[in-house]
């Protein structure tokens, strides 16, 4: 049974998370402040940490850094909308993903499942299938309903980095650094244009994209399910 550590100072939130996570077959360990959370992360060796950023004792950001020093356990951050800077900082400090509050349980479970999915270090040789799309990274071929989709070098690289962490959010900076190089981390305009082009080629309806999802102010996510 996988163990999940929930760090949140609100007993009501801990309660409903415990009930829902248990119902999904996870074992839940609870901590009600940052210090307890750091201790529990070291002691209980959880498979995943769900961390609220607003904690009574230490700043949630510090908790991420503290946990990251000891382990590479996936961390999902619970944050308030409209605090994009906080989300980006959490991701930069090593959090794996975030869920904006308030959230439905379905949304959280999708993130939990994605975070717990074992990551392939090397996507070469992987084939990713989403709907009628088939991304074959070994052969550098992308097909949609069997027909090959022609991508430019940058489009392909962009798709590649998104697919390297399916269902995970990738920040603008991360993507720009990898695809365009460290000199272009500020050039979000590049990213907008290329994401748009990719969507035109890959999405059934580019207006409401199902594959490449925008996380406003933070980055993008390649969604493989729901």
């Amino acid at each position: 049974m996988m163990r999940i550590l929930v760090v949140d100072d609100e007993p009501q939130i801990r309660k409903f998370l415990r009930i829902s996570l248990s119902a999904n077959g996870y074992e839940v360990v609870e901590a009600e402040n940052g210090r307890q959370g750091i201790d529990a992360a070291a002691r209980e060796k959880p498979a995943l940490v769900i961390l609220d950023l607003g904690l009574p004792d230490i700043d949630g950001q510090e908790v991420i850094s503290a946990i990251r020093k000891e382990s590479s356990v996936p961390i999902i951050v619970l944050s308030v909308r409209a605090q994009e800077m906080d989300k980006v900082e959490a991701l930069d400090r090593g959090a794996d993903d975030y869920v904006p509050k308030p959230f439905g349980i379905g949304e959280l479970m999708a993130r939990v499942r994605a975070a717990l999915r074992p990551l392939q270090k090397d996507t070469a040789g992987t084939i990713l299938e989403v709907g009628d799309l088939r991304l074959d990274f070994a052969r550098h071929v992308v097909t949609r309903a069997g027909a090959e989709v022609h991508l430019s070098k940058r489009e392909y690289e962009l798709l590649h980095i998104l697919a390297s962490k399916p269902d995970h959010v990738l920040t603008h900076t991360e993507i720009l650094k990898t695809v365009w190089g460290p000199a272009h981390v500020e050039d979000t305009a590049y990213l907008r244009v290329y994401v748009n082009q990719l969507r035109q080629k890959l999405e059934a309806d580019p207006v409401t994209p199902k594959l490449i999802v925008t996380e406003p102010g933070v980055g993008y996510r390649l969604r493989t399910s729901g």
Binding site: H150, T188, A189, T208, P209, T214
Partner: protein
């Protein structure tokens, strides 16, 4: 006197205007302070009177609001049927303009002059209809509440915190031929309201309750009374002009205070200020400058200048007239400006001078006029009028040069006389000398002229009287000639030098007036405090050809607020002098009697409210200020003080306005909070307790239903809280767009996805031009904008209809529209829907919004430098919210893509 002549002839323009009025119908307005004072009633009563005079009276439109007394008066009057107008599926009744004109009554009654017509008629506003009636030669009776007058709109809003949307240009009221003020004491009006005799539209009940407070009504009544009084006043002046009736006709008071060298000016000004304040009357300090002014002692000039400056400080006007007949000039001015009262001082001229010069100005004023009240203020100047400034003396030391020139001129005259005497012996060669004396007097003034006459006398005596080349005078005839020559020379030189002084004085005065005029013009156009300060220092510096600065208090400390040339620190001595001036309210520093060792001269900036700062000046050279310059600079300082204070007052008024706006918003917020927070909470609590209490008896279906209710209502609550948060941050200015290059389609897509469950069968059509470049916007905030717009569009349009999101590039702007196929927004509400907590009154079937969504949209869009407004949709169906966003040049994408490669 020419002025009087003009006044005795009727003014042709005014007569023409009167003649024009005769052809038009006459407009009479029944003016009231608030609804319910009985304007309509009074109008109907007058109409009945006219009818008894067998004048053809018809009713164009009367809003009786179901009042029985008013209804009763309508009977017996002919009525032109109302026109029925269909608008947006509803029917309205409007005045039938064409039918009235066709009917051609002598007099028509048109209620509620400020009314806005339902679209479809000839005019947007009822007063335009009335204008047509008047042009057709039909007399009109109409009613109006004071708060509808355009120029009073702001004031009314500030007092009552209720904004009146239907306004009437002041010109309509101004051109009315007659105004009858319908006055009802506020207590009575409140009583009438309590009895239900005041009609209030259903949707305005709560606002009305606040509106009809004693304080508001008293203020409005005062405003109505004053407006009516002012108008009567204006009418009277007009009538007087047109019929050449010489003033004054006492209506609203105007007071003149006469300043002179021989009266206690400061006392006079203070007394006048008190009188004017008590009577709420404007006042003017007048000084008549005669040729004699130039030869007044400096101390007298200072006193006059001080009195005039005090008048400025105390909020009066000042006027300097030119002329020789002081009393005559004053009275002419008073008559022309329809002044009612003259304040004059009891002269303190000593007995023998009085005998010598005759009557004093005061005596002559009292003798010459019976039309004015003349108030005689006595007493000596009790306060020290010793000059606080020690200006540089007019001439430092004795100047020998003019006397040298005078001697030379006499020598030349002697030479010329010799030549004349040689060729053409004249009996009275002295005329040549007289010429020389005259020239010297005109050029060099009195002293050298007297000197020249003496030298001429000696020279003439020596060279041209027998015995020649001796000072002795043998002939008694020659002695007499010499004596008359001396007297003539003295008189001529005196006269000539006086003319010269007058010319000089006139020039100085013209320069000074021009300087002050330019200064007042500069500070009048300066929009803000900084601009005023800059204009002050710049003007003062250029006037004295030196440097100047303004120091203003900040946290109890004086700080340099502006300087020309820019200056940001003072040495210790100067700082001490400035501080002393600030504390004592008197000049200090260089050229004054206090701390004269300082480099700067500091003058207090004072207004009627007290000191507001300090003006520092520094001459370019070593010289101090001349008496004339110091008076000018002091006057400038006073004007500057008033101007600087004005900007502060403007800021205060603005702050007060904001405070009342905040108050209004707080009230609206509270009512919104209690409603919008509670409604979803009721559903959530209800659903949750149902599940708890009846868990066992509920079917799975029911449980799911209840859970969905909880979820949907919680989401609704979340949206409301989000809007509240955004609004709060917008209000506090904390919501700064975090702009980035964003694909508009992406933002719209996100908003549509979030709106998902709210669509409930409505179809969304997105039509965004593919060629639209990236926008530089905050993706999160703009997503909220589109979410709110789509949410609204769904809320106010039927299920199954289409909501269209459309975007195109227009020059340097992005044009974005969100359109629905709902009922649309009435024109009157289109601007207001963007106001916080404003909701269009909806039928029962429609869900009420929170009144925040569109306000946030406007806030966010404006924070992006864009605009948003509402328009009817295509063919007048539904609503389009139209957003214009600036479209900056997007960054170059040339480096984005390396050489293209095949992917296979």
């Amino acid at each position: 006197m020419a002025e009087t002549d003009r006044n005795d002839r009727p003014d042709p323009d005014a007569l023409l205007a009167e003649a024009k009025r005769a052809a038009r119908g006459r407009l009479k307005i029944f003016l009231g302070a608030a609804p319910g004072v009985g304007k309509t009633y009074a109008m109907l009563e007058s109409a009945h009177e006219r009818r008894r005079e067998s004048i053809d009276v018809v009713i164009g439109v009367i809003e009786s609001h179901g009042r029985a007394e008013t209804e009763a008066l309508i009977h017996g009057l002919d009525r032109v049927p109302m026109r029925v107008v269909e608008y947006r599926g509803k029917t309205f009744e409007e005045m039938d303009l064409d039918a009235i004109i066709a009917r051609r009554p002598k007099l028509v009654l048109v209620d509620e002059l400020a009314h806005t017509n339902v679209p479809g008629g000839a005019h947007l506003k009822r007063y335009q209809d009335v204008e047509d009636l008047l042009l057709a030669g039909i007399d009109v009776y109409s009613t109006l509440n004071i708060q509808h007058i355009e120029s009073l709109n702001d004031v009314v809003e500030r007092i009552t915190t209720v904004r009146v949307r239907e306004t009437l240009p002041d010109s309509v009221l101004a051109t009315a031929d007659e105004i009858e003020l319908i006055d009802l004491p506020p207590q009575d009006l409140i009583a009438r309201m309590a009895e239900g005799k005041v009609y209030v539209p259903e949707q305005a009940r709560r606002a009305a309750h606040n509106f009809f407070s004693l304080g508001n009504l008293t203020a409005l009544r005062e405003m109505a009374l004053r407006h009516a009084a002012e108008r009567v006043d204006a009418q009277m002046v007009h009538y007087m002009r047109a019929h050449a009736i010489s003033g004054p006709w006492p209506t609203r008071e105007r007071i003149i205070v006469c300043i002179g060298a021989d009266v206690a000016g400061l006392r006079l000004v203070r007394a006048t200020k008190r009188i004017a304040e008590r009577r709420q009357a404007p006042w003017v300090a007048v000084y008549v400058e005669t040729a004699h002014h130039a030869s007044l002692p400096e101390a007298d000039k200072d006193r006059i200048a001080q009195a005039m400056r005090l008048a400025i400080q105390l909020g009066g006007e000042t006027v300097t007239l030119q002329g020789e007949d002081v009393a005559g000039e004053l009275l002419t001015y008073a008559r022309e400006h329809n002044c009612t009262q003259l304040v004059v001082g009891r002269p303190k001229r000593r007995g023998w001078r009085r005998m010598f010069r005759g009557q004093s100005v005061t005596d002559r004023i009292v003798a010459k006029t019976s039309a004015f009240d003349v108030l005689l203020v006595g007493g000596d100047e009790t306060e020290a009028v010793a000059p606080e400034l020690a200006p540089r003396p007019e001439s430092a030391g004795f100047d020998w040069k003019p006397y040298g020139i005078a001697t030379l001129a006499v020598a030349v005259a002697t030479g010329v006389s010799f030549l004349i005497d040689l060729w053409l012996p004249l009996p009275n060669i002295s005329v040549a000398f007289l010429l020389a004396v005259l020239l010297i007097a005109m050029r060099l003034g009195r002293g050298p002229a007297i000197f020249a006459s003496l030298v001429s006398f000696i020279s003439y005596d020596f060279f041209f009287t027998e015995p020649r080349f001796a000072f002795a005078v043998s002939d008694s005839q020659n002695l007499l000639t010499l004596f008359f020559f001396l007297v003539a020379a003295a008189i001529v030189s005196n006269l000539a030098s006086r003319v010269r002084r007058q010319v000089d004085a006139a020039k100085t005065n013209a320069r000074r007036t021009l300087n002050l005029y330019e200064f007042s013009r500069k500070i009048a156009v300066a929009p803000g405090r900084d601009e005023v300060l800059w204009a002050v220092v710049h003007h003062v510096a250029s006037t004295i050809r030196g440097r100047s600065l303004v120091l203003l208090p900040k946290d109890e400390q004086l700080e340099i607020a502006a300087g020309y040339p820019p200056e940001d620190r003072l040495n210790e001595r100067d700082a001490a002098a400035a501080q002393w001036t600030w504390g004592a309210g008197k000049p200090s520093g260089r050229g004054s009697t206090t701390l004269p060792a300082a480099e700067w001269l500091f003058l207090p900036l004072k207004t009627v409210r007290g000191p507001i700062g300090v003006l520092g000046v520094q001459m370019a050279g070593q010289d101090g200020l001349s008496p004339e310059e110091s008076r000018l600079v002091e006057t400038l300082a006073d004007q500057a003080a008033v101007a600087i204070e004005r900007t502060t007052l403007v800021a205060d008024v603005e702050a007060a306005r904001l405070a009342s706006e905040t108050e209004r918003l707080r009230a609206a917020l509270l009512s919104s909070l209690s409603h919008d927070l509670r409604t979803p909470l009721v559903s959530i609590l209800g659903a949750a307790t149902s599940m708890l209490n009846y868990h066992d008896s509920l079917s799975t279906e029911d449980r799911k239903d209840l859970a969905e209710t909880i979820r949907d209502e919680a989401e609704r609550l979340n949206r409301f809280v989000q809007n509240l948060l955004d609004m709060t941050r917008l209000g506090s200015g904390a919501l700064k767009p975090n702009a980035d290059w964003v694909d508009l389609l992406d933002v719209i897509g996100r908003a549509i996805e979030r709106a998902g469950r709210l669509l409930q069968g409505r179809h969304i059509k997105v039509d965004v031009d593919k060629k639209l470049p990236l926008l530089h916007i905050d993706p999160v905030l703009m997503e909220q904008v589109f979410f709110n717009l789509i949410d609204n569009a769904c809320k106010y349009s039927p299920a199954g209809s289409t909501v269209t999101v459309w975007a195109r590039r227009r020059e340097k702007e992005a044009l974005i529209e969100v359109c629905d196929q709902g009922a649309g927004i009435p024109e009157a509400d289109r601007q207001r829907v963007f106001d916080m907590f404003y909701r269009v009154k909806a039928g029962d079937a429609q869900p009420a919004g929170t009144g925040l969504g569109l306000a946030i949209c406007r806030g966010v869009v404006e924070a992006h430098g864009g605009t948003v407004h509402a328009e009817p949709g295509l063919h007048g169906n539904g609503t389009c919210i139209i957003i214009n966003l600036p479209l900056p040049e997007p960054p170059s994408l040339s480096a984005a893509e390396p050489a293209k490669i095949a992917t296979s």
